[in-house]
């Protein structure tokens, strides 16, 4: 019962700013409205007992991705300060298409038999992920740092070429 109430509150926290994102005439306001949306999704992840994904959601999406989007807006010529219209004359067609898509997704969701895997969830998923990452998946873990290193060097090379 409490979980259901939390789900509805979190859905509202996610969906109301999401509507602001796609309707606001101010693009900076659109970008900032993404933050409560991401926090609402974080809450939904916690309801699903996925604390680690929730942590990533706050760190990467609410933090880094939003900052990156704001940077891109500020760096674009005429990106800020202008009022934009996010929709064109095809609003009814778009609304119909999204309503059909939503109905289809709900239909598939209700009809699919969702299999449940054996075993119970670990008490704290982030700890389990950490143990796995540092014991049996250690090679993957170290290679990840190489991937991050390559992306860092790539970012520097591309950004410096701009000058």
């Amino acid at each position: 019962m409490g979980t259901l109430a939390a789900f509805f509150i979190l859905s509202a926290v996610t969906l109301i700013p999401a509507v602001v994102v796609v309707t606001s005439k101010n693009i900076v306001r659109s970008a900032l409205a993404l933050v409560p949306t991401f926090f609402g999704i974080t809450g939904l992840y916690i309801l699903l007992r996925a604390e680690f994904v929730a942590g990533i959601q706050v760190l990467i999406y609410a933090g880094a991705i939003t900052v990156l989007i704001l940077f891109v807006i500020m760096l674009t010529e005429g990106g800020t300060g202008i009022r934009i219209r996010q929709v064109n004359e095809q609003v009814p067609v778009g609304a119909l298409a999204s309503a059909v898509l939503a109905a289809l997704l709900i239909w598939v969701f209700l009809r699919t038999p969702w299999p449940q895997g054996p075993g119970a969830l670990p008490e704290y998923t982030a700890a389990q992920i950490g143990t796995t990452l540092l014991s049996s998946m250690v090679l993957v873990f170290e290679v990840t740092s190489l991937v991050l290193l390559i992306s860092l060097i790539g970012a520097i090379i591309i950004a410096r070429r701009e000058r």
């Binding site: 409490g2 979980t3 939390a6 900076v28 809450g43 916690i46 309801l47 007992r49 604390e51 680690f52 942590g55 990533i56 760190l59 990467i60 933090g63 880094a64 991705i65 900052v67 990156l68 940077f71 891109v72 500020m74 760096l75 674009t76 010529e77 005429g78 990106g79 800020t80 300060g81 008490e123 704290y124 982030a126 700890a127 992920i129 950490g130 143990t131 990452l133 540092l134 014991s135 250690v138 873990f141 170290e142 990840t144 740092s145 190489l146 991050l148 290193l149 992306s151 860092l152 060097i153 970012a155 520097i156 950004a159 410096r160 701009e162």
Partner: protein
Amino acid sequence: MLLLDWLYVAAFAVIGLLLAALSLAIVWVLSPRSAYPQKRMTYESGVVPIGQAWAQFNIRYYLFGLVFVIFAVEVIYLYPWAIVFRQLGKFAFFEMLIFLVVLLLGLAYAWRKGALEWT
């Protein structure tokens, strides 16, 4: 971690939002209001501002944004490591050390190439 324990997080979030709203509301209720054109001007440390506050920023800031995102991704690996670090002991410590040294090479590269300089 019990699902109910997250109610503390929710309570803190609600109280935090209420405190912010309250301080704005107090100002809105108590402060006198006056409107004149100078008040709506961009604040530029006391001198007359040139242009708008919303201007196109230098592309160099983008590099700092990208480096920030990469190190934020690094932090998501530190998070599960920090939880189980005590149980796994020295082995986990050195694994993370290798991970961080590889990333520090990237930072050293950025420094060497002058990506952190503002010329």
